[in-house]
Symmetry: C2
Subunit: 390 residues, 2 copies
């Protein structure tokens, strides 16, 4: 409706550039960026005629310590800065621009994701993995933002619930439930956005590689009711503050979520119909919740888990781990799944866990990938895990 802002830019662009180049670098609406080329190289463009230095920073550019790298863009005629990557592997990628020290998103690309406090643009390079993260022409599940009341935390709390395609028309059929937990700084929107959980589930269920399942994605920060801007404290900027994890209140309150889900959806109400998995802090939560309530979850997934490092050992939730793990494995676990990247800063913690499980003869499945503590890995772990449960 409100196009005056972009029109100013478009007018400037149209005047500044020779007509010959317009087909390749312009769409009907303006500059084309990013442009995935035939060889899966990607071209980035930014109109910044007054700038002295423009760079693109992204997770597809090699950086220090496996982090994001930065590439220098070059100015062509008319003030359009450009950079083209080499051919990229199929993946969902993130990036941002930097103009003379000022970080900004790409004004030609409306597709954005928020990670904690950072807003970044995204694009997908097609192929097997990119297609798995895309909305395809398959039956789609229903994605809901649902509020449940937590008596123990004393507040209404928001969660994301995925119902598989066909759920609404399946009569009395019951479905298994995956409880899928985010990391520190995340919230109930993290797995559906950064994790592409909805697309992964839609696509794997459609191809018969995963069982139709309900996926419940709660907010794992016990001190907050919801994602930033979605709760009663208003449009308060997110912080990187440590969530209230160490007091065990989230783990203690988790049965309330299970009760809500079991009483509002047609669920399989036994261990063979329940899985819990999470990344980083969500792996910590999955580790402790699954042993706190033995015989509840038939499947456990620890993705780059902060296995023990967030514990407050004085808290009963984190006490008696030996006995609790024994009870959990005695009650039966169909799959105890551990996945981590070889460069992850939590690698050693997970190695210690594996040693412990080995020494007690507790069976588990282990996947080691390349890379570190990144969403690219967690999407892969999720896609693998959901093919192995239920």
């Amino acid at each position: 409706m409100r196009k005056n802002l972009i029109l100013v830019l478009l007018t400037a662009l149209t005047c500044a550039l020779p007509a010959a180049g317009q087909q390749a670098i312009f769409t009907a609406e303006g500059l084309r960026s990013p442009q995935v080329n035939e060889d899966n190289s990607v071209t980035f463009r930014l109109f910044a005629p007054g700038a002295g230095r423009v760079t693109v920073t992204g997770d597809f550019i090699a950086g220090k310590d496996g982090g994001w790298g930065t590439a220098e863009m070059t100015e062509a005629d008319g003030g359009v800065w450009t950079w083209t990557s080499g051919p990229l592997a199929t993946e969902l990628y993130s990036y941002a621009f930097n103009v003379d020290g000022l970080q900004m998103t790409d004004p030609s690309n409306v597709f954005l994701m928020r990670d904690v406090r950072s807003i970044m643009n995204i694009f997908i390079v097609p192929g097997e993995r990119g297609d798995l993260y895309s909305v395809n022409d398959v039956p789609h599940g229903t994605v809901s933002k649902v509020w449940y009341h937590s008596l123990s935390l004393g507040t209404d709390r928001r969660m994301t619930v995925y119902l598989p395609a066909g759920y609404e028309d399946s009569g009395t059929r019951r479905y298994p439930v995956l409880y899928l937990l985010h990391g520190m700084g995340g919230d109930e929107d993290a797995w559906p956005t950064l994790g592409r959980a909805v697309q992964i589930l839609d696509n794997l269920i459609a191809s018969g590689k995963a069982e139709p399942m309900i996926v419940v994605m709660p907010n794992g920060n016990a001190a907050l009711p919801s994602a930033p801007g979605e709760g009663p404290s208003g449009l308060v900027q997110p912080t990187s503050d440590l969530p209230k994890t160490k007091d065990g209140s989230y783990e203690a309150s988790f049965p309330e979520i299970i009760r809500y889900v079991d009483s509002h959806y047609r669920t399989v109400r036994k261990p063979s119909g329940r899985a819990i998995a999470g990344l980083s802090m969500g792996g910590f939560h999955s580790f402790h919740i699954s042993k706190e309530y033995p015989g509840t979850f038939g499947y456990v997934g620890l993705f780059s888990a902060a296995v023990r490092s967030l514990e407050d050992s004085s808290n009963p939730i984190y006490s008696d781990s030996d006995a609790k793990l024994a009870a959990q494995f005695r009650a039966g676990v169909s799959l105890y799944y551990i996945a981590i990247g070889e460069d992850d800063f939590l690698y050693e913690e997970n190695r210690v866990l594996r040693s412990y499980l080995d020494s007690h003869g507790y069976p588990y499945e282990y996947h080691e990938s390349s890379g570190g503590h990144i969403w690219r890995n967690w999407r892969v772990y999720l896609a693998d895990f959901v093919q192995k449960i239920f």
Copy 2:
């Protein structure tokens, strides 16, 4: 998780600025922007040490022809550019920055909205209206993204469905349904984001000013299955192209949406339990759909409606309007609601409609506001309309 981008900026800021000023203009995480001050003036800040000119453009700054205005920001010590507005009325506002000709969002503010192709930051000035648009500590409805199949359009299509708080726990209780339609360039995400429809309904239902109702927000562009990035064509940038409106296919397909809703939710399946309302093109759709199916909708809302200007007169949907309107009012309409701003470019078209209704003795309710064809008006019309239906 990925904080290196923002850390670079934070480090630069921390080094560049005197400690004395930090409490007011910094949060724990960085520069504070926007900051709503005690007198409801608002301060904007951007760290851009290399810039020559920085401006803020927003819908709270008077511009030409009622459009957005622009204010010059000034550079203080350390490269932080600042501008403070006068005291603002309570409202949800939008803005963007411009640095040396380059439009950008505010890197200190993660709250964004997309309007067609433009990404803008938002903030709320508290008070009666701002509070109505805020998430408050009241019972919250469930918001779902649902796919239905359209036989006539030959595709699965996405819509947003709001279920009022308590729906899931109300046994066999049936609820009335408001079908709420967006304008040209909008989609099924427009009313829930730009329109704050979820917050408006939650708050008005909680205070007893509106009946608990289901609100269905379909995609009104018959050529598209979904909002940009949410359908099988992938992350394709939205365009300002005219949706396929003139062929009547959307109006012809609308009963499929009603059938889906009536067969999947506990609805009141009679005219007294059905309302249809829309803004601009959605007003056009509401006008034509409500008369095409007389005796279907007891309540009709036309918000800044493009009443007749999108018609292709050769199409049967748009033919015989006199007879169809006669049949509609003969079947009974409890409320025919027309609202428009005095500066709206569709004002004359709505005046002609009112004359027509007057001359035929068809009753309607008319609201004229200040301003033009803007979301600020449509939110007000929605909040007024939902208090008068069911």
